[in-house]
Assembly symmetry: C2
DNA sequence: GCCAAGTTCACCCGTTCGGGCGATTGCCAG
DNA sequence: CTGGCAATCGCCCGAACGGGTGAACTTGGC
């Protein structure tokens, strides 16, 4: 975030310097006038477009998962969340057990708790619920 | 789409008229100068930001489902698609059978074909693949 | 007419899943 | 220190799922 602010600050500073140079050129040549004005307008137009895209277009695809509100409301523990993500990735209990370095029995326990908290009877249903709640992308 | 283009055209025309008016003012007052330049720059900056946001921020939510290309590429039949949607909705074979008014055995057959075509071994994996291909939302 | 493809259903068998119950360990708050 | 909670693992059993195979029947096209 601060990197971005500093970056744009530097950009504006560079723009200001450029303007001062242009101003100098203008004084020297006495009224190059409209061309100069056009250049300034174009430059700021481009700058504006870049700013608009970079600043306001970014948050759109960042409607990121892991909705903390839903997680808290359901009382999902950290380990359960990990299992839930593996679940949504389409892995079997055995695979999840391997990925998390635990026994398949443990995974079964976590999955069972997830079913309770999500109000699901099947893992496919649990995935659907988790997606509806925005916990999983 | 054309409405947008026309709208921005009108906006630019209005901006041009405003500029001509400002130009007139400048000639009258002889070198209001830097303030004028600043105003032009600011106006174009704002215009640029608006353009950037309006044009490039929108297309995010337009990632619709039912991708016909993927469906054709995989050779999914109509019935298989119906089963696939039920599958992604988190229903069991028995429930799908009831919804489609067929035998659970039939559903099993369709699901097995879906696994072949989607390259999946579990129904959760099939759901994931279908989502990646944009066949289901 | 006959072939191809889609849809439908059936049976067997092995694996996975889900429910239920119990148990241990570690940590943190009261 | 004691009770609660999360995490871990085990076992049993029934239900659901998945693989394999076979077989009708319909529909559209060659």
């Amino acid at each position: 975030m601060w990197k971005r602010v500093v970056g744009y600050g530097a950009l504006l500073a560079a723009g200001t310097l450029a303007l001062q140079w242009l101003d100098y050129q203008r004084l020297v040549r006495m009224h190059a006038g409209d061309v100069y004005l056009f250049l300034v307008a174009a430059a700021f137009l481009v700058l504006g477009i870049v700013l608009g895209v970079r600043v306001f277009a970014a948050p759109a695809p960042t409607a990121f998962d892991g909705n903390p509100k839903a997680q808290a409301a359901l009382g999902l523990s950290g380990r359960e969340l990990e299992v839930l993500h593996e679940l949504a990735a389409g892995h079997s209990n055995k695979e999840i057990a391997a990925h998390l370095h635990v026994s398949p029995n443990t995974v079964k326990t976590h999955v069972a708790r997830l079913f309770e908290k999500l109000g699901a009877k099947r893992r496919t249903e649990a995935i659907r619920r988790a997606r509806e709640l925005g916990i999983v992308p």
